[in-house]
């Protein structure tokens, strides 16, 4: 992609106009036309709404008056909002760590079994990722049902007392995290498996001849080789998990007592359901700085990876 810059520079640096250059210029106008729909999507449906959101968040509730940062002030002073901040961060961090750990473990296990069996296992293990989360969460909701919980029935076999899955705040938080981990771990698994497969076998053979134990091979070959992909996946998942909506909306709808709300569900509740559009916009905009930091690191990771691969 770096070439594109140099090509553009060459084209600009030569004032002499040949018909080949005219052709090149025509080529760039065709190229521009071909990317125009994409540019429209990005500008019209991402950049403009983002700017519009900032404007919206500075209006009064009835949207007839410019009130500056008042909406943000109100939020910062509200206890519920800080609960949302806490819950979002707690949710994202624990869920991503659990997903990454489980995904890494499973990818490793999958990588160790004979190749011809891998396809079948991989096929089954990716199922949670394939079902639309809003729908699979319905299944979880039913398994968490206070009266009929089939999970509690299984726990009862091991003499574990019934768990108030969605009724008690901490359990509700854990329940939400479980569903998210269940849904997202296969994604990590598949990414890590792809990364594992891209490590050349000779490296392991060389290390084995050098006398490395399996733990040392993991520590000195696998992890460094996968480092980049691990960080990209984790950061990407942090964004998606942080901004999650489906699971909480179906499972708890923010309850009990607004304790499981995430930024997205809270913004939805405030902005759409209660009709306070400006404050809803302000809530979701609070996600922006964190997301920007993650995005920055992802981009850096991707660029590094590109450089390494070239």
């Amino acid at each position: 992609m770096a070439d594109s810059m140099t090509a553009a520079v060459t084209a600009a640096a030569q004032p002499r106009s040949s018909s080949l250059q005219r052709l090149a210029r025509r080529r760039s106008s065709i190229a521009f036309l071909m990317t125009l729909p994409l540019i429209c999507v990005i500008l019209g449906l991402v950049v403009y709404p983002a700017g519009y959101a900032i404007y919206l968040s500075m209006l009064s509730r009835r949207m007839d008056e410019f009130v500056g940062l008042t909406q943000y002030d109100i939020l910062i002073e509200s206890d519920t909002f800080w609960l949302v901040v806490f819950q979002s961060c707690f949710f994202a961090v624990t869920a991503v760590i659990a997903k990454a750990a489980i995904g890494f473990w499973l990818a490793h296990m999958l990588h160790h079994i004979p190749t011809k069996g891998q396809r079948k296992w991989r096929g089954m293990l990716l199922v949670p990722w394939v079902i639309p989360p809003a729908l699979s969460t319905l299944g979880w909701w039913w398994m968490y049902d206070p009266t009929y919980s089939s999970l509690n029935w299984i726990l009862a076999i091991f003499a574990v007392p019934a768990v108030p899955w969605l009724g008690e705040p901490w359990w509700a938080r854990v329940s939400v995290i479980i569903v998210n981990v269940w849904y997202g771990a296969p994604f990590f698994m598949i990414m890590y498996l792809a990364a594992l497969k891209s490590v050349p076998e000779q490296l392991y053979e060389a290390a084995a001849i050098d006398g490395a134990s399996s733990w040392q091979r993991l520590r000195y070959i696998t992890l460094p080789m996968m480092q980049n992909i691990i960080s990209i996946t984790v950061l990407f998942s942090l964004i998606v998990t942080f901004a999650n909506y489906d699971i909480v909306r179906v499972l708890t709808n923010g309850g009990p007592r607004d304790l499981t709300h995430l930024f997205a569900t809270y913004a939805f509740q405030v902005g759409i359901l209660s009709g306070n559009i400006p404050r809803g916009a302000a809530v979701s905009l609070f996600m922006l700085p964190l997301l920007a930091v993650f995005a920055f690191f992802i981009l850096r990771g991707v660029n590094q990876r590109n450089k390494e691969m070239n």
Binding site: T6, T10, A13, Q14, S18, S19, L20, Q21, L23, A24
Partner: protein, 361 residues
């Protein structure tokens, strides 16, 4: 069919780096010209400018009497064979060869005739329905050539077409390319870094280095009468040996102290160079244990490494300041590392070069 002329051709990349520094070359109709040189010498850039894939910074390219600087590749009536074959992976061999003709809206029957004919020339008639994936390297190379032949263009361009083949196949395909050229007689420009390929295929070889043409000529002329140190060293394998020298009293005085008499026929030619810093050059094949024949001079050496090649044996040794001197001796002759060996230089095949300019005297 057409001739191709390059006039003061320059290619400059951004930042002022010149890949081609103003070259002139006239290629005759039906001629097979090979551009040869080390990587980065500008040979591929020149070829790509002829193809229209690279813009021309300065100068002109003329194909068949028309300046084509501003003509896009498809209208130049050329065909090109790429190093990695560049076969369309989703098309059968037949469709690969027919693609250019289909785009040019040729009649079905005409396309069929041409493809079949090219397939016959290249002996790939049995492969026409296959996909490139199912072909071996040599077969892919044939298809790539077939794609060029069916177009019946003014000029064939080959960009290192044999580099991706193994040694044995490369020799075989080299012969194949020569045969095809003898059949279709299309003007051909062929780029390679392999001087053996250049020597065996070309009517004329163009040796390039650092963006300029060092020498143009038929293979034998380049071998026997190189004009620059670069050409002298580049053509021939193993490469020509060089050692600093001076001319004194009709003899070459080598840096290590050896005196070698200059053959009578060359005395006049070298007389003016007396006293200047020179390089003495001699090919390994002219440095042997054979002691019979005119114009021979002995040198005494101690071999370091002996490499038996079968039909000949290579002897590597230190000679004065020159670290790797090489001689080709008869495999039956006795030679052992560390044992004194007397060689003779065939002085009628010697070369003297100006050490400062690198020109052959």
């Amino acid at each position: 069919m057409a001739n191709v002329s390059l006039r003061n051709l320059v290619k400059e990349y951004d930042g002022g780096v010149q890949a081609v520094k103003g070259i002139n070359l006239d290629i005759q109709d039906h001629e097979f010209v090979v551009l040869v040189g080390p990587s980065g010498c500008g040979k591929t850039t020149t070829l790509r400018m002829i193809a229209g894939l690279e813009e021309i910074t300065k100068g002109e390219i003329d194909i068949g009497g028309n300046v084509v600087n501003d003509v896009p590749p498809r209208d130049r009536d050329i065909a090109m064979v790429f190093q990695n074959y560049a076969l369309y992976p989703h098309m059968s061999v037949y469709d690969n060869m027919a693609f250019g003709l289909t785009l040019r809206k040729f009649a079905r029957s005409e396309i069929d005739k041409r493809v079949k004919n090219a397939a016959r020339i290249l002996d790939i008639e049995a492969l026409l329905e296959r996909k490139p994936k199912a072909l071996s390297g040599g077969q892919r190379q044939r298809v790539a050539m077939g794609r060029a032949i069916v177009r019946d263009p003014k000029v064939f361009l080959f960009d290192e077409p044999l580099s991706n083949l193994d040694a044995k196949l490369r020799v075989q395909m080299r012969t194949e390319i020569k045969k095809v050229h003898q059949t279709v007689r299309t003007t051909t420009v062929y780029v390679t870094h392999d001087q053996v390929e250049a020597m065996t295929l070309a009517d004329r070889v163009v040796v390039m280095n650092h963006g300029i043409i060092e020498q143009v000529g038929p293979p034998q002329e380049l071998y026997h009468h190189p004009t620059t140190r670069f050409v002298a060293g580049f053509i021939g394998s193993p490469a020509m040996n060089f050692i600093p020298a001076r001319v004194e009293n009709d003899a070459v005085h080598l840096a290590d102290g050896t005196f070698l008499p200059i053959p009578d026929a060359r005395r006049e030619r070298y007389a003016p160079a007396a006293g200047r810093d020179l390089l003495f050059g001699i090919r390994p094949e002219h440095l042997t244990e054979q002691r019979i024949g005119p114009n021979r001079a002995d040198i005494i050496i101690t071999p370091e490494v002996i490499e038996p090649m079968g039909m000949e044996t290579l002897v590597h040794f230190h000679f004065g300041d020159a670290r790797d001197f090489c001689a080709k001796i008869d495999p039956t002759a006795h030679a052992a590392p560390g044992e004194r060996l007397v060689l003779t230089a065939d002085m009628s095949n010697m070369h003297l070069l100006d050490a400062a300019t690198g020109r052959v005297l």
